[in-house]
Amino acid sequence: MIALLIRELRLALRSGGGAGLGLGFFLIVVMLVPFGVGPNQQTLGLIAPGILWIGALLASLLSLDRLFQTDSEDGTLDILALSPMPLEQLVAVKAFAHWLTTGLPLVIMAPVLGLTLNLPESAYIWLIASLAAGTPALSFIGAAGAAITVGVKRGGLLLSLLVLPLYIPTLIFGAKATSLAADGLDPMPAFTLMAGLTLFTIALTPFAAAKALRTHLT
């Protein structure tokens, strides 16, 4: 299990930009917003929580299609399926590795970008907390989507179509927690709902993803 995690991290770091790619994408998406809505500090501060969350959402989607695709193409998936490790565990480890390489850097990066968007001071703690608790759900939902679209023509596009609607609840609660904190209100209701949703996702999606992978092997 540790072996698989280490291998996944090594692969992510060594293949073309790895974690940096997602971060760069996040930076660009967030940077584009002021160009679109104008440089007004007040407007930016108002929409900052939403922008940061949507940026994180898109950035974590970026590397998802490779989660199982390369393993399927080079025959690794066959051997992994024959290994003593259950596929459910395999999915969970890979999703966790995906979070470590894309989600976690976003959590660290987000406050810096929040500064550029004039995010109110009271919101930073909750921005970090909500992203830290919410982005694992994105990786795990994404893993299920990636497992379903392995080996499908134009899988990447299809993956976005399938996965993005599933991100909606996490986005709603996550952005709400941040913006409630920005308005000086109590963010706990939104935050706890989101944390619960993340736990639920982590518990549920590996089974769906493993089922999908088994279908692909045949």
Binding site: A144, I148, T149, V152, K153, R154, G155, L158, L161, L162, P165, L166, I168, P169, I172, F173, K176, A190, L193, L197, L204, T205, A208, K211, A212, T215, H216, T218
Partner: protein, 243 residues
Amino acid sequence: MSIWEFANPVRFMRLSGRVLPWVTGLALLTLLPALIWGFFLTPNDARQGATVKIIYVHVPTAFLAINVYFMMFVTSLIWLIRRHHVSALAAKAAAPIGAVMTLIALITGAVWGQPMWGTWWVWDPRLTSFLIMFIFYIGYIALWAAIDDADKAADLSAILCMIGSVFAIISRYAVNFWSQGLHQGTSAPLIRPGEETQVSAVFWQPLMLSIAGFFLLFLALLLLRTRTEIRNRRINALRAREA
């Protein structure tokens, strides 16, 4: 004789072939009178004027939009557990019908909302939920279309349908949390006519008939499309045998 007998393609074809003309006829005999009654023979609403008559299309299609997805959930589950091909193909056949019903509900909602709320679209929880629903339908249809192997496509889209159903319910509550809406309470009070509800019996009776009509229309389309899908599979199987 159990209900699973109809899961056999041959039996299903035989039975559905016999039933289809009747269901189609019944659907037309219910839907046409219901719409004529609703559109021309009911009075205008005191506040909403003639706009209220959109209800005879809007409510039945919205009702189907949700229930078709639920039907897909059930048939997908049956496929995953019992491997009945007809069940998987029925889910496949239902999806485009459900998507169109959702789209009609959204469009009629917009047309209705414009004079009522002064805008075509508001990010109201109910409207947003239907939009999400529509995207789920599109994703499901796209997945079926993207995979060549029929059994594999059935498996994967069934898994997607399971995940989608769970998240559709979560989304529904998340969206409620996100925004309080303009949309009137719920359609459920419509079913209990009386002084305390918003809709009076004059509107209620043709509406019930219209819902029944749309439901029968869905049933007819579903049977027709499932038959087409089964024939399609048979053609492929025959081709594979010739090759």
